[in-house]
Symmetry: C2
Subunit: 378 residues, 2 copies
């Protein structure tokens, strides 16, 4: 299912390929988040035009609305939402941690209250697998026990070891004609725990591995350090997925260290809030300075937002027009896809480290640049 095509000669960045029942994904890849069976505000044709090959669906959300029984009866997630390419579903572990009201987590599984209607829901690892099988995603994730950072070593170790036992139970429960199950390495910011977890999961021989429990409050440097002491213990011949990350600079840093796959709500959520990503850092479109600005967000971007002026995009946000969030979401997704496409191209030419340095130099702007962006009449 995974092929390592090329290892960059000057850094740990790698060019790979993932084959799924619904098509091929060129790696490194970024997955737009389609929480409830739709990438918010983006129609399928527009989504394909951004360059996205695989999208993510949230098992927690879909199991609450419309319910996996409805999705299954309407033909599974692909047919339900109309996306014919690969789909990865998470297990719900992170949403239980971040959204739900947890009632109890013990060896048996998680018990929590829905953030929609307060219903009590029991989620043992086996059920997390069965829900994802009902959804019919191409890649499913094991249920993991996510804890906040920072945290004491005992809590981190217990949650990590439980996550490994749950991963084994998920593997034993899995029974689907084409769905592949990825494991998730936990262990917080503790090098020994991350190493131990990666090694225990490697023994279980999953078709892919994720790094979980990051982007939950630690600094960027702490996250990069965690990648440095975790990735060397993850199998080289399996895809590596950094869950829920991140900013363009985070993605470049993770690719530099050998990560293959990403998902994050930033391009979509920030787009809905009038923030546009560019190589020179984000623009805040509500800023008064864009009122009569006839330039596009980015001269070289082929997306429909960049066929308009910044002044028009600002108008859409000031007038609360849906098209503002729609266009900026499409722009940001196009930007993220273009970023990973350029990364793939650079790796193929053994020059990812150079691409990384150039991009980081532009992305990380001076405080004065950033202040100018926030100086607004709104």
């Amino acid at each position: 299912m995974y092929t390592l095509l090329r290892q960059d000669a000057h850094c740990d960045a790698r060019r790979g390929r993932l084959e799924t029942a619904h098509g091929t994904v060129e790696l490194p890849a970024f997955m737009p988040v389609g929480t409830l069976g739709t990438v918010k505000g983006v129609e399928l044709e527009q989504l394909r035009a951004t360059g996205a090959e695989m999208i993510l669906g949230n098992t927690y959300h879909l199991s609450l609305r419309p319910g996996e029984d409805v999705v299954r009866s309407l033909g599974g997630l692909h047919k339900f939402c109309g996306w014919t390419g690969p789909i990865l579903t998470d297990s719900g572990g992170f949403q239980i941690f971040s959204l739900a009201k947890i009632m109890n987590i013990d060896e048996q599984g998680a018990v929590f209250r829905s953030h929609i209607d307060g219903d009590k829901i029991e989620l043992p690892p086996e059920r997390a697998v069965k829900i994802q099988e009902a959804l019919g995603s191409d890649i499913a994730m094991v249920l993991d026990h996510v804890v906040a950072l920072p945290n004491d070593r005992k809590t981190l170790e217990d949650a990590m070891l439980r996550s490994v036992r749950w991963a084994k139970r998920c593997k034993d429960a899995a029974d689907h004609p084409y769905q592949k199950l990825f494991a998730i390495v936990q262990g917080g910011l503790d090098p020994a725990l991350r190493k131990h977890c990666a090694e225990l999961l490697a023994e279980l021989d999953f078709p892919g591995y994720a790094i979980g429990g990051l982007s939950v409050g630690e600094t960027p440097q702490e996250m990069y350090d965690a990648l440095d002491f975790t990735l060397p213990f993850m199998p080289v011949d399996k895809p590596r997925y950094l869950m829920g990350v991140g900013k363009p600079e985070d993605i470049l840093n993770a690719i530099l260290r050998g990560v293959d796959l990403f998902d994050c709500v930033m391009p979509t959520r920030n787009g809905r809030n009038a923030q546009a990503f560019t190589d020179d850092g984000p623009l805040r479109l509500r800023n008064e300075k864009y009122r009569q600005d006839d330039r596009p967000l980015d001269e070289s971007c082929p997306c429909p937002a960049c066929k308009r002026s910044r002044g028009y995009l600002r108008h859409l946000f000031m007038a609360d027009e849906m098209l503002g969030p729609i266009l900026l979401t499409i722009h940001n997704l196009t930007y993220y896809q273009h970023l990973v496409a350029r990364a793939r191209n650079a790796i193929e030419q053994n020059r990812f480290a150079e691409f990384y340095r150039t991009q980081m130099g532009r992305l990380i702007r001076t405080p004065a640049d950033v202040e100018s962006e926030f100086r607004t009449d709104q």
Copy 2:
């Protein structure tokens, strides 16, 4: 600018063509409403795919946000919003009547407070023309004095005669290289006033004529009657535009009587509220009965909403996903465009009256059908 291509042999329906600086419009035509420089939630490519040839912009709204100065400095309304086809702008007369807080209307013009920030705005007829010239629409409308229905004859007559004087002032003020100015027939539900207004305006020789002041509280039959006693006095060699109308059955009734052009917020506004138009009447997608319905809204519709199940569309609305309003707006606009395309085709074959009878028989459903549509858990 207008060509009468064919008069149906068995009714007053007519097939025409309108040529503008930004392209040709086949008549009868329906214009989607793009109030603030965007048809809410619909990207340009999607809008073109519905079959729309001309869109409408609202002068009142655009003059408040972003202001006609901003639109002009960003290249005019076409460049501003990216729509390269024909655009018609209204004059603001109807919005002053329906949205703004009117302070005074006298011979000089209207004085009102903005519904956005309460600013006092003076709008003499000449300024309504100059704003539309700054926007650069292909067709501009004269400023008219709209009054509520029912109303006493004196009020209706005064408003009608003032509208004629204002139309003359608009014509005298107009000075734009390609923009054409259409006049608006007023006179409420009074046959003599409508006839008199149509004749006075015909003498002024405008390139097109609208019927205004309808769809403001009268019954459908009263509106059809008004068309019957107004249209015979409007020039045959000029396009006839029924402003702000309407339901599919209203459009069919008006085409039957010789109307060429329509605009209405119903397909877009109702789409955002989960109502889908079909030949068999509207569906309300929040209805519980669609929860696991795997059928499309309409088997024969080529729109992206009809590539999904009713169950999926219902889910989008129940989960407050933007894609629900987007898809139903696109479906409804596709439905309206398909309706007028079929009307044009029927007229070319002298069988519009037959098409009208067939469609009306399906659209006007029994009370039991309608009740079933409203029986919902929401």
